[in-house]
Symmetry: D2
Subunit: 363 residues, 4 copies
């Protein structure tokens, strides 16, 4: 009810503030006998962790995770899996100057008004630090999905005004191993440099910039997703929109598709060589009537520019007085290079959840 | 779990197939003593009902609703409100020719694979006819919100390649009474004709076309929305994406905002003349950190072109044989003029749900 | 949240007041391809319906049910099943004399205080009439369970001070066909007369009397039930306690077992002739650690005497004034003969729900 | 869905195995600005902790809890509260001898069959050690309830064949401070000795014994509890039945009341001197129609004898072979002296949850 739990059959509940003792997650509903590779969870966390490159925040967190329960002799037992990530580098004093101030486009004001109290240090619960817990849980979900052949591929498809039109969704899985070779996490090596230099210039100007992430999910069986309200793309959309800084989601032909005719946007069914029913085109993005149709699922997620900029901004404090907010603390000039892994994690959680729901219909 | 219930505190559960006996909804959690104007519910249904103009489907349904429970002497009692809408004009024979065929970009194939059975008549449960139940429930939600001063305004902001850039979000409530004066439901009278003629031409070509709906919500108190997963915009996004044919959602500065700098996209706090804290701009779309900040909430919803076109299309049947699907039945050339009211209904459901959740924090 | 929905994977949502237009239920999550025998649903309703014998209320309701959705060509489709039961014999005028009065041990006072409004006719929503909707849903659940070999047997095991100690739980299924041969619904033909004459005498005295129902569930596979909070017996307990007039629940050796030693109450495991692991005794009532162990599940449910008696009782009205409540209307002198079928229905709902939850763990 | 979360508005999710690294809980939905006295949480845990007296298990756990999140400067912030209790004294080797054996009346067999894997050490997740997490969460709930004047009083009302008939429910709050003066946690000092010596004798015989706990809740406002399924007593019943070893629950006049006439069991309304509506008797146990009526709530919970006895018992191993289980490890001869605090915690969780649900109806 208070919104810190996600999922129906495979649920995660996260906790923790940016500058508290620890953040973490309980995963409930993970099927037994999933082999848990702790190294894999840590690798995923490392891709999200701060301080990993010159275009991310310089806060230093090892984000070392500990599994406290639910795994026995290397396998899940079907009981809740608790994962703890202690906070290490909380320079809380960096925040005392904004204790009573409302930072523009942050959640300071709304938290204060909603709760009448807030942990102002680093944004407290509203900080994107919470997403590390999602990544840890998402890693478990990926291990489950791997058992069923399902794979998720996300990359940065655009920053600011730069798009990568030549990388259509089908290429993302094919080029996926290029992604970790550049710090912006784009599968197109050549474009990566352009994106990185745009972010760098922005950072040097004390500013931040928005971006877009494209995601492809392969090998999803036909039948995942529940009509009417829990359509697969509706749950994916909610998952993405729940990530800090996301302000848009589209799947298949998306917003662009609304400019088309039915005759241009329809996907014609055919039988492929293996006798499987497929569609000639995939404007439906792998989902029809809210249910996966066996084609690749793909969608885009829109991230606004980070609200914390290294410039002075006018604002008010909690007493309503005019004040100035000076840019301090350690922040990302652009969130998408780290957000890629959060997007994949949330997609993995949704797919796992719907996979389990789908099982309950089987004989 | 099977996805036919929406909401946490104010929940709706819908039922019914396009060509079954009836469709309907149970609303649970509606607070007592909300005055129910049955005429208002009917008016809302009339705005969604088929056959209302030359640019909508010609199926004739009066969509007359009956309240079966939960209302006593004109007021809600706090017990479940059941609303029944009998189906009248089910020309089910229109569908016998597609009994075994998979219509392109419809849910025929995915339903058949998921369930191993389906009511093929008019799309069965996957038909947008289900949304009449949402509109009835949304009308109750609007009556609740009215008690608290909250109002919702949606209109058609674009069809195909035509946008109405001159109508920014702030004008929608101001021009709202223009909306019902044209059959496309656009607040800009002059543009309405252009949109209508585009839809008409498309229809005459046996084709369909997509469109976009813009929505504004006014007078939302500060504090609605639950971090972390149930952010107000995440729930609005899921609500919209659960509507048939929707393939995109954005709020505030949306996808366009991802092209901007932080210094361009941040909303500066100030104190207005009444001593209330507001923001100079509203790129945040009235929501910060997932919680309403008291400014207007606004968002856009993208609808793909209707999949049923009046042309022959290739396809396969359920045995995997090649076949042809001929366009028959009665369908909308463009869904947005009727969808406007569905969008408002879903927004009302989300707002009411979060309003009740918000109350449980109060002393 | 407002408590009119039951279950997680197989959910039912009921609606309706005693003297409104209709009562009914939506079942969501019923797997597809369950064969629906409408006659069976009606037979179950007939066992619960009023006016069936001299020891039940004389209100006449045919309780004829209509399936509005979710069933196509005799089989479930996986979409919501709505069942409607119109109210026919609502002598609402019988209730005008208690419009402002609080009947002793009824819900009049608590509803009025909670909601500030109530449909006083026949108890409105608090009437046991609502349980007809549960019985209809329970019938669907029984049809699902039958596919998996699971059967439920309940009977009246005691009324007032009379117990039937000689009928231990193992005999209930064996003697089950005796149950419908007597109007008190007890599998022990000889004792039935004694119970009936006790109820009859009570009725003639204008009084009512409590009773107990024993239930056995056979052929439950090992593994149903979720630790920690959703233990199978915890969900059965909640299901029973949610039935009107229930004030106690025990399973296995129950309250009596708390008087014993561990050495007397433990169930020793052994391997039976078919190589299956069973227990020598079954004090655990078929559930260990909240999970079914393959033995018969059995439990008891305690029903208080009906609150409406045919005598004058002192009370207060809603203004706090002293008043007198005269016994009028048509009521049961003892609820257990009709409640037997409600108990079975609720047990069927719990078992079906847990069966589906259990499936989501399977590979 | 997997059953490790409890509550709707105030939810707790627990994790941890008996011999894993830690157990713990996340509380979601706790209102902001509740003052948190860490000492109080620890005191509550101390009352449940093992090794506290000669009639409890000798396992030594300090059960020192750490609050990881959700509390800032001594007050709740409205964000999730995570509490961690590290395991200290896990003599896991005590359990290697039962690694493949099914202990009679334990959950070894059902867990193994359900999940195909289990952490056998100390019963793993099925151990009552998990209830420490509930007690920690319950302490937070008690602090919330204290703000609203609601108090919970539980004590041991019977062990084996010994009942304390002279302590009726109204005396429990009056005598409450006597409870902590004896190790069996009974408010009747004189009877305490008898109960203690019965437990002691049982323990010396290598056996265990069952017992009963009576609970009273005072100052509950009128209106808590949701019809139809989430009746206040149904949720209390489920809460109690979810505690390890509980096999029965009754409230108000309970099983005994089913032997009575309506004229004997009805509670007559009257207006007391303060103008408040009350009832002359309280056979309804403070709940009518599932909703609190302002009178004292009271109920009884039945605990079976602990399954682990210090004697040899026959059994089978997981391969189906005959085997012998020797009583080892450190266990309670009778669970009720420690369970009293668990009962109070679960009652506090239910009351808090319903209090918040009740608030969402208020204007």
């Amino acid at each position: 009810m208070a919104g810190n739990t996600f999922g129906n059959s495979f649920t995660i509940t996260t906790f923790g503030e940016s500058h508290g003792k620890a953040i973490g997650v309980i995963i409930d509903g993970c099927p037994p006998n999933v082999e848990i590779e702790t190294e894999f969870i840590q690798e995923e966390l490392d891709k999200r962790k701060p301080g990993q490159s010159k275009i991310t925040t310089q806060r230093k967190e090892s984000d070392t995770c500990q599994i406290l329960s639910g795994v026995f002799e290397g396998k899940t037992t079907g009981t809740p899996i608790a994962i703890l990530i202690p906070n290490e580098d909380q320079r809380s004093k960096d925040y005392s100057h904004i204790q009573d101030k409302y930072r523009p486009s942050h959640a300071d004001y709304t938290y204060q008004e909603k709760y009448g109290i807030r942990d102002y240090r680093g944004g407290g619960r509203s900080s994107a630090r919470e997403t590390a817990a999602r990544v840890a849980a998402g890693a478990i979900a990926k291990l489950f999905l791997k058992q069923h052949g399902i794979e998720i591929f996300a990359h940065v498809s655009g920053v600011g005004n730069i798009d990568l039109p030549e990388v259509n969704y089908e290429n993302i899985p094919l080029l996926y191993e290029q992604r970790e070779k550049n710090i912006v996490r784009c599968v197109d090596e050549k474009s990566a440099d352009t994106l990185i230099s745009l972010i760098n210039t922005t950072r040097k100007n004390g500013d931040t910039i928005g971006g877009r992430i494209a995601t492809v999910i392969k090998n999803v069986p036909v039948g995942l997703g529940e009509p009417v309200f829990d359509k697969l793309h509706a749950d994916l959309g909610k998952a993405m929109l729940s990530i800090n800084a996301v302000q848009g989601f589209e799947y298949g032909s998306g917003f662009e598709g609304t400019r088309k005719k039915g005759s241009e946007n329809n996907d014609i069914f055919e039988k492929n060589n293996e006798g499987k029913i497929t569609t000639k085109t995939n404007y439906s993005g792998g989902i029809q009537g809210g249910i996966s149709n066996g084609m690749d699922i793909f969608f885009k997620t829109a991230f606004k520019p980070v609200a914390t900029i290294m410039r002075d901004q006018e604002s008010v404090d909690k007493y309503g007085n005019k004040t100035k907010v000076t840019g301090r603390g350690r922040h990302d000039p652009c969130v998408v290079p780290r957000a890629v892994i959060i997007v994949e994690a949330m997609a993995a959680l949704v797919l796992t959840d719907h996979y389990l729901r789908y099982l309950s219909y089987k004989k």
